[in-house]
Subunit: 432 residues, 3 copies
């Protein structure tokens, strides 16, 4: 299955090395330790070492980190012959994206005398941005080369940071849990890319676009990790104290409620009243009853009518829930009062608390932010999709999609081969 | 393998939706944020955000959460054709139980002006109660429908909370690590349920009641996670400071000692002096040398003499160690002195420290608590077992136990099928 | 495949029980709770429970713990028929080593009135020492009995503690991240052991010394966990505050940079421009661009010229990177100034900060420490290797290396067997 077009011998090394060299130079020139990581700055003030941000953010960071590398990586191993690529490409583009995101977000979040300050918060934010890229990866899973994925990541991280800047800094929107910036943006960006990369003859690879027993079990590792650590994801960068505590807890109970509903919905809609593991994987993650359940079987509609070949179902998993979360967020903002939040109001909606704007204005800002996000994701995905169509990037042909063997040295299944050879030999003997 | 009796098309959705609607209503009516999660309450006092309970409990909570969903879920994947059900039913009943436990425990732990207060401690407690249900799940693994499991969970969570109330609040017993409330209760409840559900013709499914190479490796993921995070489990809700620290550390060293002994015992008792992975999985978790080792091969006795078909060996894994832990706890309590504990005595045995009761009286309380727990578990299991016998719950028949295909859409093993088809074709060709 | 020589029926139980009894006695006689775990000591002072070391170390400890048991254990499951042994022997020798390391390190780190004090720091240190033993295990993977591994662990833990004492206490070297004490020591000790145990006829087991598709996916679980938690590993025992924060962050970005370079290097050097999962597994962990990349394909050189059969590639994975890290550390120390570190200097190089020694002298100390480590590792490995050659330890013969079946009860692959039997029956029918 060696193919000149998909050969990465020179393309991938050149892309990796050039990108990494640029990253190292930019880090050297632009990046500095922040107050809590710089030895001189930290010791110049009179505080206890226990007050270092590390102790109040790092455990959440590590949970998020596990979601990015184990959660997303293994969630996508459900395809029968795409486990190496799912975990391996996830690893590659995440390792690139988190570095690039540190620079882009640092630039847009505000430089300090020409320098980007880094600490545990920038690490969490970089992982968040990476999550958005991995959502898009899910949409194009099995149909792209690692080179294409790296190029997609370059553009998507950049656009993500611009969008985040517009929403949070320019418009003053709140986006706890990343409904808009991460889920909505990542999903619709990826869906537009896969729309542009539409393959009319993809059914040539159809027999590999499904799971086998063990691949679904590997995928459950990813699913469960994403599910378990979602409370940490949603609360990782919220204000310290009650905010972080409350956000983690609300996520915990919402997810549990959503899971029960998903099982009911799966048995109701699936074949013969049996549960479907793909429903469980998708909807348990969709993060809310309203979001997760109605979208269970819209995948054929997307593919046949809209020509969107969404391998991993990111529309159900992140797109719809993201949009719904954003709408709920806008409504909640519009009706927020100090009666409910007390002095905590200033942590959740600081501009409303200070009296600078009204609650309904905050609601409007949230709604505008959703529209901006959708616009940037779709437009960005459109342009990047066309860029990725260039033959130089080495995409696989229609008949070799969803196949590790194209980009990976794949070991044989010795065991079975041996057994089959034994059967073969036994039969041959009988014939003589 | 479609079967009218086991069809869940209507039963499971109805059960899930009704339960979830009831849960949402009860949460809406009864549940309130506690002091550390409520924005108004938290900000009404003058303390640092760093003092929020979240930072001193949440990392332990996440470890416990991983034990519940990855640990228990994957531990039970050792059966060759029951991986989907092990992980998937574990997921379903855990998601239900943690919500129901929050309400039940909140009710019995003491309402605040008619409201249940929730925060990270209630999350940990809900996960603990869920652990007890999952222990019982292990005993009936492979022989029950998801509907039966949900019904079992409703009753077990309720009884668990009553038992916990009687022990901790009414009697004043100490139960660090949950020897009695979690392990003993969960194990004997489940064993009694499986006794009532005894299937004389279960040997029809005997060929599936064993592991294969890869299923044992998946099970090792669960085993190791349970083992690693046991220190967090035992220390998650103990008093802060030295107590929590000491409990985690004692568990760490006890488990290591137990593991070494288990390997010795396994090589000594198993076939041909080889190690048996099932021994390692069970005994390494049994939590103490005394508890783990002597019970290695009593499973046939349970099944043949007592008609208890204990799929996952929960008697060895949780029942015996739980009882032994409780007895050791009673003896320790009876001989506790202020010489040993100093001012820390009030964290461990507050009533003894205050002089209200003597140490030997505390020991008696512990012993009575064990008896109460055994009584409630066995009686509860008896009643619930008979309820679960009703045909409406859709249990699998004797010949289709330990089989995912009954309740799940199971993908083919395409790879092997293709290979086999190829062999087939080659043979056919040769014949012509 | 039962064999008198490799039968562990008596050898392993005797070794395990005697070792565990000795450990329990020594713990009983020598070990005491430290200030933060002892109820009396902790409550004798007037501090907040929030200041207990537990809250600032335990989350990092648990990450390290996962690296030791899941990371190392599953990393080595890449061999097609050695998954039980990889995870299972890893579990056994880690459970022994962490107990023995607590005693040895406690002895060398300084007794308190004849007693070893334990707390979360001793737990982390014990896990570190265990990591070193597991690195050596990687070099001899597949060619040793569990009895041999236990004996190796006894000596290696002891020597590790002596070496650590000489470096850190006697010479005053700094070894953050354990470049010298853990990685360099563990790698060269193991390499020398495998050199002494050289098997000229190992090619008899060659067909099993390779991976299959699923075994590589299991190995990726280990790889990714080691990668993700490396920041916690490197920062777990550094000084609290900015130090710990900075170390974790630096590791995070270094690893990401290294990963990108590794992918480039793998595509450049591997067959047909495809990525090689073994490269990704090894080099992504090597912890630095300089260290990880040039060593990609030196394994044949080691084996053919130096007769070092390094199963898991620990020379690339830990040896070279460890030495390079140590050299970089020596250079960094020699040029450290208060301008860069400010008042934090006293945390990083206390002797330089206090003016007792110059920075260049510190650099010399680091260089000497590296030489001492290499010397002790090679000499120790030489002696231990010859001890392990004694036939009593039950090593497998050349033709049954890399095979679980030698020391484990291995279940059949029922599924495939059934399918094959079915094919067989179908063919037979056709013939008649």
């Amino acid at each position: 299955m060696t193919d000149v077009a998909t050969n990465m011998r020179l393309k991938l090394p050149i892309a990796c090395f050039i990108l990494q060299i640029i990253l190292i130079i930019l880090f050297g020139v632009l990046v500095e330790y922040d107050h809590d990581t710089d030895a001189r700055l930290w010791h110049s003030k009179n505080h206890s070492d226990y007050e270092n941000d590390f102790y109040y953010r790092y455990p959440s960071f590590q949970d998020v980190h596990v979601m990015i590398f184990i959660g997303f990586g293994f969630l996508m191993t459900f395809l029968q012959r795409y486990g190496f690529s799912s975990v391996g490409f996830n690893f590659l583009i995440a390792a690139f994206s988190l570095q690039w995101a540190t620079l882009m977000q640092g630039f847009f979040h505000g430089m300090h005398e020409g320098k980007i300050h880094i600490g545990v918060l920038s690490m969490i934010n970089a992982d968040f941005c990476t999550g958005s890229v991995l959502i898009s990866f899910g949409a194009v899973l099995g149909k792209t080369s690692p080179f294409q994925l790296l190029v997609m990541a370059i553009f998507e991280v950049t656009l993500f940071s611009v969008n985040e800047f517009v929403l949070v800094t320019a418009l003053g929107a709140r986006d706890a849990g990343g409904s808009m910036t991460i889920h909505t943006f990542g999903a619709y960006f990826g869906l537009m890319v896969t729309r542009v990369l539409y393959r009319p003859n993809l059914n040539k690879s159809k027999h590999r676009n499904s799971s086998v027993y063990h691949s679904d079990l590997f995928a459950m590792i990813g699913t469960i990790y994403l599910w378990m650590f979602w409370p940490s994801f949603n609360s990782a960068i919220t204000a310290q104290g009650d905010d972080q505590h409350r956000t983690a807890m609300n996520t915990y109970y919402s997810l549990a409620a959503c899971t029960l509903s998903t099982y009911g919905m799966s048995a109701l809609t699936a074949h013969d009243g049996k549960l479907d593991m793909v429903h469980i994987q998708n909807a348990a993650l969709a993060g809310g009853v309203a979001a997760g359940t109605p979208s269970l079987s819209e995948k054929p509609v997307l593919e046949n009518k809209l020509k969107i070949q969404d391998t991993c179902g990111v529309h159900n998993l992140h797109g719809m829930p993201g949009v719904l979360g954003a709408i709920v967020g806008a409504v909640t903002a519009a009706v927020a009062t100090t009666d409910v939040y007390g002095r905590g109001m200033k942590d959740v909606f600081p501009d409303v608390a200070s009296g600078d704007i009204t609650a309904s204005y905050q609601g409007l800002v949230q709604a505008i932010s959703l529209a901006v996000t959708l616009g940037m994701a779709l437009l960005g995905g459109l342009i990047v999709g066309f860029i990725l169509k260039l033959p130089v990037f080495g995409a696989p042909s229609d008949s070799i999609c969803y196949e590790d063997n194209v980009y990976w040295e794949v070991p044989g299944e010795e065991d079975h081969e041996e057994q089959l050879t034994a059967v073969h030999a036994a039969e041959a003997e009988k014939l003589n």
